[in-house]
């Protein structure tokens, strides 16, 4: 039996993030309507200048276009999220729509780690926060919610930490899957709540399709985790030692994959399949 509903806050990279919308809608549908959502400002001059430095003028313009002109019409960029984004015949295009339907406030910030953002989050006194994208979160923010900040990582932890996780899973014979875990100060090093392998990996037609399926799979499993946390039937397990060789200074962090290796990973997806193994932390 549930007691008082958990107070959940959603942290998003943008109000137009499909994953953010899908997660907020999913938890609301389960009866845990967020008490608030904090998103990064759609576009600010500091971010734009940083993007010019990193990506050049053309790259920054492309970035601005994606931020300022979200998709319209029936199409969604991740078709696997369509069921999670569709409610009562309406496809949620922005977190504002989700917030209007489930009646929760949205705040925009330049940096979620800034004292003003943390003060805003404290006002909502969350039990749990859900990270759906954005900047790296620092310790003061991570300490705001009573239980912690949840993240859905697109790989099985602790084997595959960091970036390009689905692709690295394919190349390293680790079954593609997702891990729901608490964030801590490291990169994907926080305690694990549960992890699942993606069923029918070989149905994926491309790396993009695999990634889309993993995101949708993560959104659905996140709901199960929140329910279990609320019922007190799930607890987190600290991650074990790095599986790297004993005495090695290396850890199991992976970085953005180069295009050439991505093509090999795509070959792996379509030609050969990693062996499935049972891999759950909490049974």
């Amino acid at each position: 039996m549930r007691g008082i509903a958990m107070r959940i806050v959603v942290l998003g990279s943008s109000r137009y993030s499909e994953t953010g919308c899908a997660i907020a809608a999913r938890v609301a549908e389960l009866g845990y309507a967020p008490v608030g959502a904090l998103v990064l400002r759609t576009l600010d001059s500091g971010t734009l200048l940083r993007k010019v430095g990193q990506w050049g003028v053309s790259g920054a313009a492309r970035y601005a276009r994606t931020k300022l002109a979200p998709r319209h019409g029936a199409d969604v960029s991740n078709p696997c999220l369509r069921p999670a984004l569709t409610h009562g015949g309406v496809v949620f295009r922005s977190l504002r729509q989700v917030a209007a339907r489930y009646d929760f406030p949205i705040a925009a910030c330049r940096d979620p780690n800034a004292p003003s953002s943390i003060a805003r989050l404290r006002q909502w006194s969350p039990d749990l926060m859900i990270f759906t994208g954005g900047n790296i979160l620092r310790k003061p923010l991570l300490e705001v919610p009573r239980l912690g900040v949840l993240n859905v990582h697109l790989g099985l932890l602790p084997e595959i930490r960091g970036m390009s996780s689905p692709e690295w899973s394919l190349l390293n014979n680790v079954p593609p899957g997702i891990t729901v875990h608490y964030l801590d100060a490291g990169i994907d090093t926080g305690p694990i709540l549960q992890r699942w392998e993606l069923p029918d990996v070989n149905r994926s037609e491309s790396l993009t399709d695999l990634r889309n399926r993993l995101i949708a799979f993560g959104v659905s499993k996140l709901g199960d985790v929140i329910t279990a946390l609320d019922r007190g039937t799930m607890s987190a397990m600290p991650q074990g030692a790095s599986p790297s060789a004993p005495g090695s200074s290396k850890d199991n962090q992976f970085f953005v994959m180069h295009e050439w290796l991505q093509r090999r990973a795509a070959d792996r997806l379509t030609r050969g399949r990693p062996t499935a193994v049972t891999a759950t932390v909490n049974g």
Binding site: V52, G53, Q54, W55, G56, V57, G59, E159, W168, L171, N172, N173, V174, S242, P243, S244, A245, G247, S248, S249, K250, N252, Q253, F254, F255, V256, M257, H258, E259, W260, L261, R264, D267, R268, R271, G272
Partner: protein, 419 residues
């Protein structure tokens, strides 16, 4: 300080003698300034370029062949102010293996012939420089002939390779005399210091010399004579004492210079190759620790700074392209040794970055060249395209070619886990 002023004056005089060099110099300055101000993407680890590795490889090799001087040696650099330098014995020595490797791996017949012929001329020139005791001189051709441990080691690399390719007895004799001289000069603790060492003190980047001795021991018919292998291992043991838990390596000790990535990478290359030849897993692990620290830095900061303070702190904000190419070689070799695809991944990204920083066009000495620093006014070899930068880039691209081809040929089942 006085030396630096004199150097700057002599460079400026070079420009006055050939004012037509001002145009490419200004072009390069403006181009680098504009790029680092408005378009930094090319500097980053996720950079991609349409330029093929083969094209960049041929272009860098063309630069090396163009840098050959009339005496058969290879120039140290092409300066945007003073043009080509005189032949440089040290670099000529260790470019010889690169020339033969290129000839073995690449198809265009004309280029292959040119590379082999250049290697042959370089070897003959080097033989003419050997001092009576077996040592080779330091500095550029024409400077006072002082025996140099480091240069002798680097030239020994070239002689061992040339002997393997040509079987000429005089090359082996010269290599033997050089190796004997190196053993004679070695201190009981395994280091090289004193008059034959740069600035008179021991340096950990002399691991390159240990590699040359280990190579000499392994690749010649004299392998029964364990003196060379033992000398290499003695130095390896001495260098390993300088590895810190952070991956930092002490003992590079170049007075008046920061810790350039080029020298850090020298230590790693020398230790790694010596360790492979001597089957020393402890040394391979030490190299992994440092190489991983630099890989992590490259991936998280998106580029590798060109110079550091102790423990990789206080990094300077410029890129040492030679050091980058060397690190690419180290990561590729570690991929070969450990099967960890993350090393291959970072090396591919590094090579992408390097390919787009090599001028595809320009006059002789510029096209295909690897500048000491990026931007060109950075503190490592400013305003110069350096021959050893091209050498390491060719090495890195050849290794990339070799490993990507064998990776593609491997069946899916052969892919192994990283950890």
């Amino acid at each position: 300080m006085t030396g630096r002023v004199a150097k700057a004056l002599s460079e400026a005089k070079g420009l006055l003698r050939r004012p037509q060099r001002a145009l490419p110099l200004v072009q390069k300055l403006v181009f680098d300034r504009l790029r680092i101000t408005f378009e930094r993407r090319h500097l980053y680890s996720y950079a991609t370029t349409r330029r093929s590795s083969q094209d960049a490889l041929n272009s860098a090799m063309r630069w090396i062949l163009d840098a050959e001087r009339a005496d058969g040696g290879i120039a140290a650099y092409y300066s945007l102010l003073t043009g080509y330098s005189a032949s440089y014995p040290e670099v000529t020595g260790y470019i010889v293996p690169t020339l033969y490797d290129y000839a073995r791996a690449c198809r265009p017949a004309q280029e292959v012939e040119s590379a082999v012929a250049a290697a042959d001329r370089a070897t003959r020139w080097l033989l003419s420089l050997q001092l009576p005791g077996g040592a080779f001189p330091g500095g550029l051709q024409g400077s006072p002939a002082q025996p140099s441990v480091f240069n002798t080691g680097q030239i020994l690399q070239g002689l061992v390779c040339a002997h393997r390719e040509t079987k000429r007895p005089e090359t082996l004799q010269a290599a033997l005399a050089a190796a004997d001289w190196l053993i004679e000069m070695q201190s009981p603790d395994g280091s090289w210091s004193g008059p034959g060492a740069y600035q008179g003190v021991a340096h950990t980047y002399y691991s390159m010399v240990a590699w040359a001795l280990a190579e000499f021991s392994a690749r010649t018919d004299l392998s029964a004579d364990q003196r060379y292998a033992r000398a290499a291992e003695r130095h390896l043991d001495w260098v390993l004492l300088h590895f810190r838990p952070s991956g930092w390596i002490d003992g590079i000790d170049l007075q008046g210079h920061p810790y350039y990535l080029h020298f850090i990478a020298y230590v790693l290359q020398g230790v790694l190759e010596c360790a492979v030849l001597r089957r020393r897993n402890d040394a391979i692990q030490a190299v992994e620790s440092s190489a991983w620290a630099l890989l992590r830095r490259f991936e998280t900061h998106k580029y590798l700074p060109g110079a550091y303070g102790r423990d990789f702190k206080d990094a300077r904000r410029f890129t040492c392209l030679t050091g980058n190419a060397q690190m690419s070689c180290v990561w590729l070799r570690l991929f070969q040794i450990t099967d960890d695809l993350r090393y291959l991944n970072s090396a591919l990204k590094m090579n992408e970055m390097l390919k787009q920083l090599i001028p595809a066009r320009g006059s002789r000495g510029i096209a295909g060249g690897v500048s000491g620093s990026y931007p060109v006014w950075g503190c490592y070899q400013p305003f110069r395209y350096v021959s050893w930068g091209c050498k390491f880039l060719v090495d890195a691209l050849l290794l990339e070619q070799r490993f990507t081809q064998s990776f593609e040929a491997a069946p899916c089942e052969a892919l192994r886990c990283a950890s």
